[in-house]
Amino acid sequence: MRTSLHELWGCGRGPVRRAAPPTRLLAGLAAFGGCMISSGATVAGSLCATSIAGVWVLGCRPPGRVLRGSIVLGLALLLPYFLLLPLLPSPPGETAASWREALLVPWALLLRGLTGMVISVATVTVLTGSDLREALLRLPVPSLLSVILLQIVHQTATLLYETRRVAEAMAVRGASSGGLTAWRVLFSLPQVWLPRVILRAERVGAAMELRGYCDGPPPSFTRSALGRRDVAVLGTAAGALGLAISLRLWGAP
């Protein structure tokens, strides 16, 4: 079933998708944690982070365009840090060692940022809205946090659809054709758009209150049993996290 999340991100087709929703979320978090813990200062740490990200991507098999998009976005956001090398407290000097030391700072940012982004995107592609709900409900997450998180995801999709409708209205009314009119519409848009979003938030809040959405723990509609696949996925993710921690604690400096 394609739901709002999948319409935004695309749908992963890897073997991880057949694991239970809490397994997918937990394993994704473990993989993300492994990459964040891995040290970018060592070859082993760098290899560990990229391997974790690579294995997770293979397990989730996100759509190619989504993967490419996230890599391009990550590179666009993180590569400019290399331009800051001359501004470091101890800028690289003449020797290769000082250059290497200076390069490690933006390299660590790039490594963690890019692998974290790729893992997050891959995880989202194997979780539908219903899966996310099920995962959060079965993990020890405070119920208030769960309901708020789920509503944020649900309403974000609604707002994106509304944005699409506004864009279509702009196109139909000739506001997308460029020129002065387009700029005028663009600048007046927040004055129209923001009150609309606030009013919608008020109405959704009223509906949540009326339907007792926050009165108790959020309801669970489906229960998927954990199987051997879940054990394998969780075991691999835990192993990767353990390896990253070990390399960080006892690896070469």
Binding site: T3, S4, T128, Y161, A206, L210, R211
Partner: protein, 230 residues
Amino acid sequence: MSPPALELRDVTVRYHHEGQPILTGVCFALAPGERAALLGLNGSGKTTLLSATAGLVAHEGEIRVAGDRLGPKTAGPIRDRIGFLFNVPEDQLLFPRVLDDAAFGLVRRGAAAADALAQARRALAALGVDALAEAPLHHLSHGQKQRVALAGALVTEPSLLLLDEPTAGLDPPGKRALSGLLASLDAAMLLATHDLEFAAGLCRRFLVLDQGRIALDARDPDEVRRRWGE
């Protein structure tokens, strides 16, 4: 003798403390099972009256549902007896899957998930949208969302239904089906609408709001038509 399903005594609502009231001194009562239409021009206060009845906006005066006075402490239990349809249905749809949303009211009241889902399927079927049970909400048209929201409101078999523009976005067969379904229910209902023909087919009482006051409380739809024409 059982108390009225809904009773409003001298109810006034204002959104700003010093501002002009949206509703002024509204008084009426609905007997159990009575169906009344709430008519009026745009901005006459229909939606505000329904919202006040569900305790969503502060009011002066007295609102009672089945004899229980609406207040901060009683709002929760009273809402459990009310089925509410918002005029923008997508605002009240809180789950990514149609079936989950329709079943939510039952699960919240302690029903087992399997029973709730089965009952939700029946409610969706009664409104002709059971084929959409597994569909993501964002794929539905306005009329389909309207029916799904209504299924969520009806599934708990409330004793009082507050429906804000229930026919908005429905095609003629949808309107007929809705009218038949609502007529088959035992619940008292107050439906805000501009659709006088729909209201005349379903209701035996017509309350006309004009600038926040009940301008007409009639049993004869022709009388309303005459006044509406003015």
